[in-house]
Symmetry: C2
């Protein structure tokens, strides 16, 4: 049995999967703030999974952690995990001595891409597009995570698709993230509410002109990111995940309309059959935790232990 | 010795390379029009290379052909090579019986990507961006051509980077190709001349307002394509090739200015060090022919012969 954790800004999602990849146990914990508290959350969640399964922690083969920060390729060092209060942390070094297990660490979106690949038919090229506060993608080819030359593969959130578009936090105009990232969209909406993107979709349905512009912008950014991933890596499957999936079918309705519009304008785009490539994850699917659990299976255990 | 051919709309460029990848002979032929004439051009060029080296054709190990059309992955069938008058042709079947050699066929931009990779330091992820009449890219990872799920990897020419941009031949607005493709640019310029892109750069230097808009658009499209290839596949090297390289340093001056502008706006984009990733091919470099020659080395000879 392997353990996978998705350490989010508020909650940590933990699963134990068996050799066939099936989830045998799942627990959630509130994520602590800062390096020590995050490490403690990881140790606590692994223990809770063991309790759930009535097994000792030592019965697990490995622990994989997906975390919202930069993870230097091939290492377990996390940097700039701003939502967790982490500037820099070797997460394996912090938890492996206590757990006594090999620990692998990966960026959460990349871990989710591995998880989405495992949940699919398991062939070809898959892009996982995450729409949360920010926007980023993970690309998996024949089961292996694509890292690229410098570890920035899949940063489609900062692809500008409109030089006259809204200002992005990155400083460019019209980035995919400026149109479709939860953070920018909430700021542009500017009205109080717990779930701004849902409020925008509700208000757009009610005919609010400003909401319609924002909603169509969200869909434009998502459809542009899908096109970009197909026109560059030719992803056979594009999985949409992240907070925005809480919109369910309402999301695919507007994204599908945008894809249809580009297919109507361009026979070439139509020939790519974009709509047939897109899947939306069910809200709350533990895809990042499952992918994190698979990290352990992909890594050289000795090498990972050496960091601990 | 392996032979590689770059079958262009007007000229066919042919090289013979030795085991170390060095060009031992190079000839050029005028390309015939239509399936039979193109096949005859291939046979003729291979014979001319043999003559040049005072060798029999049978001394060559293989023939690789790069051709401007769709080549079904893993086959030698060419489709929609409109500039050559070819609707559909199994090129290996057409020439292998006469040549008595294994023949591999690939899209010319993809062949050029392999050639650019071989001419570079031979590691990591390389994107070859071709700006000719149209715009397309080939992506090479660790020496292997990236085909993607459906063979459309690298079609960045039809990535829209401005919804209010010029109409593309594909039907969308603001595609990279609509900004930077030689065909669209010449049409938008609309003045007579043999080398419209050079005329535009000359006129822009002389202060012509319309030319400045077109020239800056060319640079915008190129810089956006570079950003797109780095933000998706994280290409460590982006090689610019195609007819536009006749502009030499004048090209990199305007593209560099655009890259610098995005780096100034965005610390994230600056961190990608785009300018350090870009190389411009010397005009007339036989990169597609060299890459085509390497196709033979990558393929299973038996399998290729079976198509012949």
């Amino acid at each position: 049995m392997r353990v996978g954790l998705d350490v989010g800004g508020t909650k940590t999602d933990a699963v134990a999967i068996d050799a066939a990849g099936n989830v045998q146990a799942r627990v959630r914990r509130t994520t602590g703030w800062g390096p020590e508290a995050v490490a403690a959350t990881v140790v606590d969640a692994v223990g809770a999974l063991a309790d759930e399964l009535a097994l000792p922690v030592a019965a697990f083969e490995s622990v994989g952690v997906g975390i919202p920060g930069l993870v230097e390729p091939g290492t377990t060092r996390v940097a700039h995990a701003v939502n967790l209060g982490i500037v820099e942390l070797d997460l394996a070094a912090a938890v492996a001595p206590t757990l006594g297990l090999p620990v692998a660490v990966e960026n959460d979106v990349k871990a989710a891409a591995l998880g989405a690949y495992a949940l699919g038919d398991g062939t070809g090229t898959l892009a996982y597009l995450n729409f949360g506060t920010g926007v980023a993608a993970g690309i998996v080819v024949d089961g292996v995570l694509w890292t690229g030359s410098t570890g920035t593969a899949g940063e489609v959130g900062h692809l500008s698709i409109d030089p006259d578009g809204p200002l992005c936090t990155c400083g460019q105009h019209g980035c995919v993230e400026a149109f479709s990232g939860g953070g920018t969209v909430a700021r542009r909406w500017g009205r109080p509410g717990e779930l701004p993107v849902r409020d925008i979709f509700d208000a757009a349905d009610a005919g609010d002109a400003e909401a319609i512009v924002l909603r169509d912008g969200v869909a434009y950014g998502i459809s542009a990111a899908i096109r970009a991933l197909v026109l560059t890596v030719d992803a056979g499957t594009v999985v949409l995940g992240g907070g925005i999936t809480m919109l369910g079918d309402r999301l695919m309705a507007v994204v599908g309309a945008q894809l249809e519009q580009s297919a109507e304008a361009s026979p070439f785009i139509r020939s790519l059959r974009l709509d047939e490539r897109v899947r939306v994850l069910p809200a709350g699917s533990p895809v990042a935790a499952i992918g994190a659990a698979l990290l352990g299976a992909h890594r050289d255990t000795q090498e990972v232990l050496a960091h601990g």
